[in-house]
Symmetry: C2
Subunit: 233 residues, 2 copies
DNA sequence: GCCATTAATTGTTTTAAATCAATTATTTTT
DNA sequence: AAAAATAATTGATTTAAAACAATTAATGGC
């Protein structure tokens, strides 16, 4: 469903080719990362990391797709990201309280690689380029969360759902037609609205010829109008 | 109004005593930070940094208090933090797009110290302890933003205002009775509600003997109930 | 100390979006 | 393939909170 480039991850040299964060690492540093590294397969729906547990590892997905979400009040979730292969996650507790601050669960069959947080720390200390790129990564996430804060608190439903559709088109699928690995409830958890409202707004967008919807397949017909709806709020 | 420990900032050796982030720095590194450093005084209401402009500096307030806020849609702001002396800010654009991702403006007469981003970068690269503490700082902010996302999207007004009052009590004033440097509108910008709603909920809390309100002075009478309201949502 | 301006309060109305309820489609399981 | 379970749609109702409007209080400038 998603364009996945690799099947298996044998050692961190592979990541060095695929994850931009690992470009800066020397052979020795890759060996440190690789020590104690392990890969685990998850079925769709399984939890990869659970919010609140001790953050001993940093993870990267090698195949499949996962959702990264906050567990909020009364079992209500807020999905922050869909996680594709080679995107590092699990960081926010690092050097801090050493706990995971979000949960991640597999949307499709997924393999994830677990790297010891201690080893990441060691390499951050030895390699300024790596430290800098980790900091850049952290800062990018902060900026994205600022945007999300504004979207979710100041825009009304069409604006919020437009933001979600734009994110899916640009950052996840990179094409105008895609089949979602998400339910209407989960679209709602990305856009802070109920599943019923998702249905209604999707229908509205369809009536305005901005998108077509057939079940879980969505096609963006008019990206510009979608952007306008996003900007207007 | 706020307990401010220092009057003037002569060089970064002073920060080494006051800002925990600077503890790890050697004499040479403090000298790097100090080069080109400058301090500016702001009257209440003045903008210290403006969202969207080029982030050439990292700032620290040496006296006074400021608000740090996102500029959202239709001139609507979202206040993220009140900034006290010795707390570093301006980081999120660092190594990233080199822009400020929020605005900061003085609530009282305020002095702020500007340190060149290049110099901070240089020291991050040379001192792993400093790099680690900056990363810790960044991760703490991420965690706080996750909490804020849940508070602002999933709690209703009493829960959100309770969160704001708890933040003011614990993190800013560190006592149960304080005089706000904020208007009702600004309390609303911290809690994502209108100024009218702030008035009403404060009155509600007062009727329930949780707080007393006399103009801008608030006293917390029952912190436990406030916490319950926060947890319940 | 008085006037002008801004901030806060209070009451009323409107509205966006949730909740509730019922039905229809899809998947999954057997 | 049929039955069961889950997901999606659709409509009606309720509700939290904004918007609007009017008054009162507080602040700042002269």
């Amino acid at each position: 469903m998603i364009n996945i480039k690799s099947e298996k991850c044998f050692d961190c040299t592979a990541c060095n080719e695929r994850s931009p964060l690992f470009h800066y690492l020397t052979k020795d540093e890759l060996a440190i990362m690789n020590a104690g590294r392990f890969e685990v397969h998850f079925d769709a729906g399984e939890t990869i990391v659970k919010q609140g547990t001790i953050a001993n590892h940093i993870m990267v997905i090698t195949s499949g797709i996962a959702k990264l979400f906050l567990e909020g009040i009364d079992r209500r979730n807020l999905i922050l990201d869909l996680v594709l292969p080679w995107k590092l996650f699990g960081g926010p507790g690092l050097f801090n309280d050493m706990r995971y601050h979000y949960s991640v669960s597999a949307l499709t069959a997924t393999s994830a690689c677990f790297i010891a947080a201690d080893h990441v720390r060691q390499v951050i200390r030895s390699n300024p380029d790596f430290a800098e790129s980790i900091l850049r990564h952290c800062n990018k996430n902060s900026a994205a969360n600022f945007d999300r804060l504004i979207s979710l608190t100041q825009k009304q439903m069409p604006g919020r759902l437009a933001d979600t559709l734009i994110y899916l088109t640009n950052d996840i699928f990179q094409k105008n037609r895609f089949t979602l690995p998400l339910s209407r409830l989960e679209l709602g958890e990305m856009s802070n609205m109920t599943k019923e409202s998702v249905t209604r707004i999707l229908k509205e967008f369809e009536a305005e010829k901005i998108i077509t919807v057939e079940g879980k397949t969505i096609e963006i017909l008019n990206f510009e109008v979608l952007k306008e709806i996003s900007v207007r709020g």
